[in-house]
Amino acid sequence: MPESIVAVPGAGTIGAVPAAAAPTRIVLVGYGPVGARLVEELLPVVRAGLATLTVVGAEAADAYNRVLIADYAVGRSDRGALDLTDTDAARAAGVDIRTGEIVTRINRVRRTVTLGDGTHLGYDRIVLATGARANVPTLDGVTRVRRSLMCPPSDAASLDTADAPLPRGVTALRDLDDAETVLATVRSGGRIVVLGAGVLGMEFALAAAQAGSDVCVVYHADIPLNRNLDRGGGTVLARSARRAGVTMVSHARAESILFTADTDGHDRFDALICADGKQIPGDLLVLSCGIGARTELAGLAGLSVSTGILVDESLRSWTDPAIFAIGDCAHVAPRPAPGASQAAPAGGPTGLIGPGWRQADWLAARFTAEIEHDARPADALTVAPVAPAPVAAAPVPAAPVDFGPALAAHTHGVVMLKAEGIDVVAAGDTSADPWDLDPAHPDDGHGAAEPVRGRDCAGAPVPAPPRLGVSQWADPEHGRYVKMVTRGGILTGFICVGMPRTGAELTLLFERGSELPADRSLLLRYDGPDVDPAGGGDAFAPDATVCWCNGVTVGAITASAEAGNTDVACIGSATRAGTGCGGCRGRIGEVLERFALTNSTEILG
């Protein structure tokens, strides 16, 4: 085994030469929002000279906020609103940022990466933040992209398209170039066909409609957002979208594209043709068919890859402890035990930015702790490696050094539609229905005692899983739909359409793993006219406060009136009501009027 690949995996000292003088060389592949976050968080160790950081980003532009790309594509935000990070400041701190460039190869033996221009860079750690690309569906008229593991693209421009660029009038909506294409059509008033009714497709369609475009969404399922919503929620959303001016074409399997000839003779999109013969004409076809992680570089380097680059809970590649992955390209899954079956791991990249940023923050903190730890000479002695281990071996147990808390496991992301006037938020598993039988509690509604499900090998009772509860509220006429799924009272999934405050509160409850109130209807009332359960009471009830400055109630004023204080000034002298800010003097008058009225009635009666 050559000396150069002998490294110390685990123990937080990857590649660290015992003489702690040399800075740790970090190469970040990808300069999207997640990569940029990592750069920001690593600036202190770079400034301190403890690490060098080289960033290789395929897009020519500095990192920008991809989440807002639909806003930009319809002209709702300007380009400046997408700016996310201060690349100049990072460069000034000593970060080597190379945009418009890609890494074509990772040489794990030599510990170098090869760039598109043929240069080589040495590394101690690599972070892959290569992100994801838009999926291009199989459509007659669109050439399938063939990606060869053996022959990776060598320049940034063909990173995603290989040698098969999309036809004119057909675009994804993933990067700035795509957005420019879309924006031109929005501005010229062209008709837009969106293929796919996922979150991005719906967000864009609604934004474009709001910007005045003629938009049609074509989707295969019976409802939009079918991965996140159930039938009730999806149906309400579809109705709301139609009301917002979007043409919704469900149950449509797109099959091919009809072209027209541009003035220069090139083909241009003319219409989308569905399996049932439907023809949907337009000036631009926006493909919104999901995204796929960019894993070719990792695959080529021999790293384990599933729906993304496989990394363990500390974001470290299953295969190489010097390589990490974060964001849309990373598939976080526990590393299988040695000898365990190699079933495809569960989960996959979430496609959400929040988890990616958390990963970037966490990884930067971990790197910083480790690098600073290694830089301390006294400590370096105590954790000197005992025996070198092969690179691909299972990691040795972590050294007894505390590098901070573990990365919180991210289970289900909260999905929220960014659309003005249409509020959709969903999270977790919402497949259950109110009348579903809970298999763990077949006698639901009868026995109060928790059922016991057999006994474990030691004879101890194994409790059944917590009780499933599903509550639902549907008001399609007013565009409202809520479903709440609980396990043992704890919110494990929900859908909320058309009820913004309810959706916001459910989100908090879900993210925290909180219990729902036993009376679930409380959550619905947040968006009702009686949102204030403490208010709306009788303003003239005896214990209702009239004068806040002096804490005087209706009862106290009435009592004072009974004692003969029948005008506002007398009440003020007697009870101090109205002698603070004076804002309640009108109400004191009203209380006195009612008092006078009641009194005279009583006298007359």
Binding site: A81, G488, L508, E515, P517, A518, L522, G535, C549, C581
Partner: protein
């Protein structure tokens, strides 16, 4: 040596309320022999009720327009309270207190101060001040600490109050004056955003100034509670935004995002009057509305509507209070509020603005003249050689003799009795056992001291730990100045002679300085001290050099800075900000997204705050029968849904606990609070102390403790039978186990 005595009770005197920073104007009229009816006999053997008192009447003034709240109306009752301490008290070996003469007490204090200093160094003596002290006392306390004690260890309870907003204001504007405009300017605004302040209960007459915005439907109140202030938004008055506690910074970043994304910024203003916008623009890109909703619980339509309202107003003010400032990221939160104000082009204009609502009576003046650990009079930095030279010149000492910067309040309190820490502490105008966070730790620190001196009117919870308690004058018994929440310097005047045996702190400083053979002079005459303060502040940020009692007594509306030869500054920043380049600094800040705990089995977020009837630690208001009867005990506000889940009943006993401590109190079940939040007022002593639960963690910039986001577990002590529905059945076993 005898104390300077106010002559006799004058018939009628114009002064201001002793409590909050609104400093409502009042007129005090002497009475022959007041008294609460309940005649008590004080330590000196005098019949308390036989002493003459005063009656209180509201007085026309721009801030309160003649109105007073319940606290102000009843303030005079404390003058004749039977619980007043009327002679120095010395702790006896058996723990009891015995009266002593002033000479005896002061000789003892001086000897112990000198001994401690000789044995353990000057910094082993600490001083803890208060935001309720007059400018003269606050100034003299700082001078006494630096000159007579030679100690750097001084800080004050304003650290728990204004420090975050002050740090943010200094950072952004180069100067910190709570409201950089007269309160009356709010009257003409059509949009006022109040973040984390319950003015309707903490300074009720202030809400008169919100009337214009209410009429325009533009009062926006951000509070996790439907507080009395939030209720002012009802009936078309505006909007109540109810975020989850601790998410204020995210909320403000999100609003700034919308304002920028929707092109609602004042581009011209930003270009002419600010620096740093580009960094802000980039930094808020990550706080798009949907993400903000996810973290705050504030729905997107509300966020957008709010942002648009702020930019549409013809007169828009953004005001912050302790609710958003008393956090570990309080400085950044106040900064985010300032940044939002700046991108909207509000600050330093005549019709709009940003301000922070100062809490304590002299919370403004108290933070300007040297009670802060790193500060010299005139809001000068103690680390600035020019400032040291100037102030040392006024004090008649050498600049080298002045100590350097000390440590902020929490650090100071943490060092009580610790190795190398404070061994001897003087407390003035503060009741740290009740008001400081992590109360058990504070108490342990006080017990670990060699010697504790407390100046107070009453045996406060802190005074009970003292070795010497020195009785001092109350507001109606002394002359002085206060600087109100709007930066206006106002006069406090003597309406009644102090009881025999009670002394002014100025006199105490003079006596101690003499006994300690201190350099410099320590006058006991408030007017003289004020003149000296004015000279010491000359050229500083808070320049009072054009002021005197003579000028203030003309009724002049004197707003600082008021350099000699000027007419003061009612509105700051109209021509420029206080930084060298005249521009406001936009400092981009970020929120750290932290995981909130799961709200299960009684785990909720505790926020603390004030009630209408009580003031701060309640040492005063709990001794006013009318106030105490109205709010006799701490009540934990809890939402009905949470109450149902936990089996709490209104008025039932409840226990609130965490790793810091346990509070026992009663529950107040109310829909006016978020289900994930409980509220506990911090005015009460003993087992009801809210600060038994708060953590001593602090903001890295301001030293402000985290008061408004504490995770606690709530448990019913009085249970209702069959309190809950099906869900609780499964949860109950775990709960019982956990509390077994």
């Amino acid at each position: 040596m005898t104390a300077p005595r106010a002559s006799v009770a004058r018939p009628s005197v114009d002064t201001h309320c002793p409590y909050c920073a609104l400093q409502c104007a009042m007129t005090l009229t002497g009475t022959e022999a007041a008294g609460m009816g309940a005649a008590g006999t004080d330590a000196a053997g005098t019949d308390a009720a036989a002493r003459p008192g005063v009656t209180v009447a509201g007085r026309a003034f721009p801030t309160n327009r003649g109105g007073l709240c319940k606290k102000g109306w009843t303030a005079a009752e404390l003058l004749v309270s039977p619980e007043r301490i009327l002679t120095p008290m010395l702790r006896q070996p058996d723990g009891s207190f015995e009266p002593a003469s002033w000479d005896e007490a002061l000789d003892l204090v001086a000897a112990r101060l000198a001994d401690t200093r000789a044995q353990h160094g000057a910094d082993s003596v600490g001083v803890f001040g208060g935001g309720g002290l007059t400018n003269e006392k606050a100034y003299q306390l700082g001078k006494f600490t630096r000159v007579a004690l030679g100690s750097s260890r001084i800080d004050y309870n304003g650290r728990f109050c204004m420090s975050s907003a002050a740090a943010a204001g200094n950072r952004a504007f180069g100067l910190d004056r709570g409201l950089p405009f007269p309160v009356e300017d709010l009257d003409s605004a059509d949009t006022i955003l109040i973040l984390g302040s319950n003015v309707a209960q903490t300074m009720p007459p202030f809400i008169g100034h919100l009337e214009g915005a209410r009429r325009a439907g533009g009062l926006i109140v951000v509070d996790p509670r439907r507080s009395a202030t939030a209720r002012l938004t009802e009936d078309g008055g505006g909007l109540h935004v109810q975020p989850t506690p601790g998410s204020d910074l995210v909320l403000l970043l999100g609003l700034t995002h919308i304002v920028i994304a929707e092109g609602l910024i004042d581009t011209d203003y930003l270009a002419r009057r600010t620096t740093g916008f580009e960094a802000l623009r980039r930094s808020v890109s990550r706080w798009w509305p949907e993400r903000v909703q996810q973290l705050t619980g504030v729905p997107v339509p509300q966020l957008r509507g709010l942002a648009r309202r702020l930019s549409a107003g013809t007169g828009t003010y953004i005001l912050t209070g302790r609710g958003v400032e008393q956090h570990v990221d309080g400085t950044d939160t106040a900064t985010a509020a300032i940044n939002l104000s700046l991108v909207l082009g509000l600050v330093g204009t005549r019709r709009s603005g940003y301000g922070t609502l100062t809490g304590q009576g002299n919370g403004q003046g108290g933070r300007e003249h040297g009670q802060k650990c790193d500060q010299l009079p005139g809001y000068r930095k103690i680390t600035d050689p020019a400032a040291r030279a100037h102030v040392a010149g006024v004090w008649g000492v050498s600049p080298e003799s002045l100590p350097g910067a000390g440590v902020p309040a929490i650090e100071l309190l943490d060092s009580l009795g610790a190795p190398g820490g404070i061994r001897c502490l003087l407390v003035h105008g503060s009741n740290v056992v009740v008001s400081a966070p992590d109360s058990n730790r504070v108490r342990a620190g006080l017990e670990a001291l060699d010697f504790l001196v407390v100046c107070d009117f009453f045996f406060s919870e802190t005074a009970r730990f003292a070795d010497v308690v020195l009785p001092v004058t109350q507001w109606a018994e002394e002359e002085g100045t206060m600087t109100s929440l709007e930066g206006r310097v106002i006069r406090r005047r003597t309406a009644i002679g102090a009881p025999d045996g009670v002394r002014s702190e100025l006199w105490i400083f003079q006596e101690l300085a003499r006994r300690l053979d201190s350099a410099g002079t320590f006058s006991a005459d408030p007017a003289e001290v004020f003149d000296e303060l004015c000279r010491a502040s000359a050229g500083g940020l808070a320049d009072y050099s054009g002021l005197s009692y003579g000028l203030l007594d003309t009724g002049e509306a004197a707003y600082w800075p008021y350099p000699a030869g000027s007419a003061g500054t009612p509105r700051l920043f109209l021509d420029g900000f206080a930084h060298a380049n005249g521009r406001a600094r936009i400092v981009a800040v970020q929120a750290r997204v932290t995981d909130a705990p799961a709200q299960r089995d009684g785990t909720v977020t505790l926020i603390t705050g004030r009630l209408l009837e009580h003031y701060q630690s309640g040492a005063q208001t709990r001794r006013v029968p009318e106030l105490q009867q109205a709010q006799p005990q701490a009540r934990l506000q809890v939402h009905p849904a949470t109450a149902a889940r936990l089996g709490l009943v209104d008025g039932g006993e409840v226990e609130v606990g965490n790793a810091q401590g346990v509070v026992s109190c009663v529950a107040e079940v109310t829909g006016g609070i978020r289900p994930d939040t409980v509220f506990l007022p911090f005015h009460f002593p003993g087992a009801q102390r809210a600060n038994l639960l708060t953590l001593g963690v602090t903001d890295p910039v301001s030293g402000m403790p985290e008061f408004k986001r504490t995770t606690v577990r709530v448990r019913a002590l009085t249970r209702t039978p069959g309190a809950d529905l099906a869900d609780a059945v499964s949860a109950r076993s775990t709960r019982t186990d956990a509390h077994a």
